[in-house]
Amino acid sequence: MAKKLMKGSEAIGEAAVQAGCKLFFGYPITPQNEIPEYMSMRLPQIGGAFVQAESEVAASNMIYGAAGTGERVMTSSSSPGVSLMAEAISYLAGSELPVVIVNIVRAGPGLGGILPSQGDYFQATKGLGHGDFRVLVLAPWSIQEAADLVQDAFDLADYYRNPVMVLGDGLIGQMMEPVEFHDGRQPLKVLEPKTWAATGCDGSRPTNVINSLFLDPEELERHNIKLKTKYDLMEADEVRYATKGADEDYEVAIVAYGTVARVCSTAIDELRQEGIKAALVRPITLFPFPYAAVRETAEKAKAVLVVELSAGQMIEDVQLALARSRPVHFYNRMGGMLVSPDEVVAKVKAILDGSSVEVHHG
């Protein structure tokens, strides 16, 4: 298919349709309204259904019901809405239901603002709801990558029988960029038939029950162990990252994800023109986090710079990866303010001239 100029939200919606998504349940919240708007127009064209729910609470429980029938289903929201979905996401993980959830993150806390932020990193990767569970978290840095990752997300959700979150920000939602959808895309994984789905039982099999209730503690522990085994498998097999300039010599290794990584990429080009060598390692999966890749990239550098649109969230995973083997510096903006390439350039120079203070946690 030829490249087409698309807005991020619409590309995300179309990518879901191309991946076989038949159902979308959502609730309006800025800055992601174009996703449900697109799906409300598009899904009836393919015999699917769109429902504007009364709340994110309801929307996320509707995807639970629909996913339980085995159909491909999706919702999208932005930070305060995702907080309301936390209940259902825990049930989805506990009941092992495959769904795709897009979070176009906005600045918080509380009502916060509507501009881009990375303040939901902790929520997405470590605390998306009650109980012991994980969701795969994919963080695109371009509209093309958002479209590709949304399609991959459906395959990963089905393969692992687990929710998958695509974590973007307002830039991903609102930017327009060329996007190409590939004809004849093959699933990422060999996907088994959904014999577990609750679709009516004619007696040829035991009844299927979609459930996360296990009152017997031994049975629940077995379920917890089964889930943990699945999350371990994700950590072993699903780590994704990209690097820039990591094959050459460099003094500073920058760690950033999403649109912030693009800003850092530009900064690295500008630094090179001034003869300053820096490299970028960009986590694409935030869970599982690419600890080994971050460590290997950092070990070739004198110092590490983490850049985030938050008060410092991913930096904790970077510090876990490095175990104090390299000094870690931090640059951030918050509240919907963006990081500029010039600011990153200045921070790298400050690290090299000794005027930047490294960050310690713990």
Partner: protein, 257 residues
């Protein structure tokens, strides 16, 4: 040759339930199962279980089930029905689940006219959590969180769900029934049969509120519980059909005629 005149419905699993002596959940389960059998829809039915005493309902019916979060059964049922309109979908919910934490979900499910059936069991108290005040607890009724009796000055009056849902303009079948004696139970089954039939025909949303006993948390013997229901609940929660898809709706009158 002996003729079988009474047997366990095929849609009802051959297991003992966990319900307390004198509780009418088991009876209501049976009525639902009989209707699923008679309409010959068991094979394409998906039930949605609540959080509350009926949380284990999926163990008691011979059909596929989904267990919902507290109050969210109408949203889950919406997801199932929109994904698979050919399935017969019902939620089975108690008063804390439906009328308190799940009030938004039931109102909007009804208002969208989802072609699902809601079986709403009203026993005027929280059962599984141990007898706390419900939105449907009667004025003056003692519960563990209103130990001097429900004070309508601070807790408001009991919510009449069937009446409230029937004010929505979207066509629906809304009825209330009770199962405190065999005769009225026959009427309750008829209400359930009409509700499921409307779904089978793809006509409309349907909700049947069924008054139920809870001797354990009411603190009275099972034999007295049916009488307590009749004396205290029935006058406030009248039995009958509140809305049919053909009966239209009460339109507001213009201010100036």
């Amino acid at each position: 040759m002996a003729e079988t005149v009474f047997a366990r419905p095929l849609a009802l699993a051959d297991v003992s339930t966990h319900y307390c002596p004198g509780c009418t959940h088991g009876l209501i389960h049976r009525l639902v199962a009989e209707v699923l059998d008679e309409l010959e829809v068991k094979e394409r039915t998906v039930g949605v279980a609540p959080v509350g005493c009926a949380v284990l309902a999926y163990n008691y019916f011979n059909c596929d089930f989904q267990e919902a979060a507290h109050g969210r059964a109408p949203a889950v049922a919406t997801g199932v029905k929109r994904a698979r309109p050919d399935l017969i979908v019902f939620s089975y919910q108690g008063d804390g689940d439906l009328a308190s934490i799940g009030m938004a979900e039931i109102v909007h499910c009804a208002n969208r006219g989802e072609k699902v059936t809601v079986v709403f069991v009203n026993n005027a108290i929280y059962g599984m959590t141990g007898g706390q005040m419900a939105p449907t607890t009667m004025p003056g009724q003692v519960a563990t969180t209103c130990q001097l009796g429900r004070d309508v000055e601070t807790a408001g009056h009991p919510i009449r769900v069937a009446e409230m849902i029937s004010t929505l303009r979207t066509p629906a079948f809304v009825a209330r029934a009770t199962v405190h004696n065999p005769l009225v139970s026959v009427h309750a089954k008829e209400m359930l049969r009409r509700a499921f039939t409307y779904q089978v025909k793809g006509t409309c949303f349907s909700l049947v509120e069924i008054l139920s006993t809870c001797p354990t948390n009411w603190g009275i013997p099972p034999a007295e519980a049916t009488g307590w229901l009749e004396k205290n609940m029935l006058p406030y929660y009248p039995v009958g059909v509140f809305k049919t898809p053909d009966s239209g709706s009460r339109e507001p009158k213009p201010l100036i005629s």
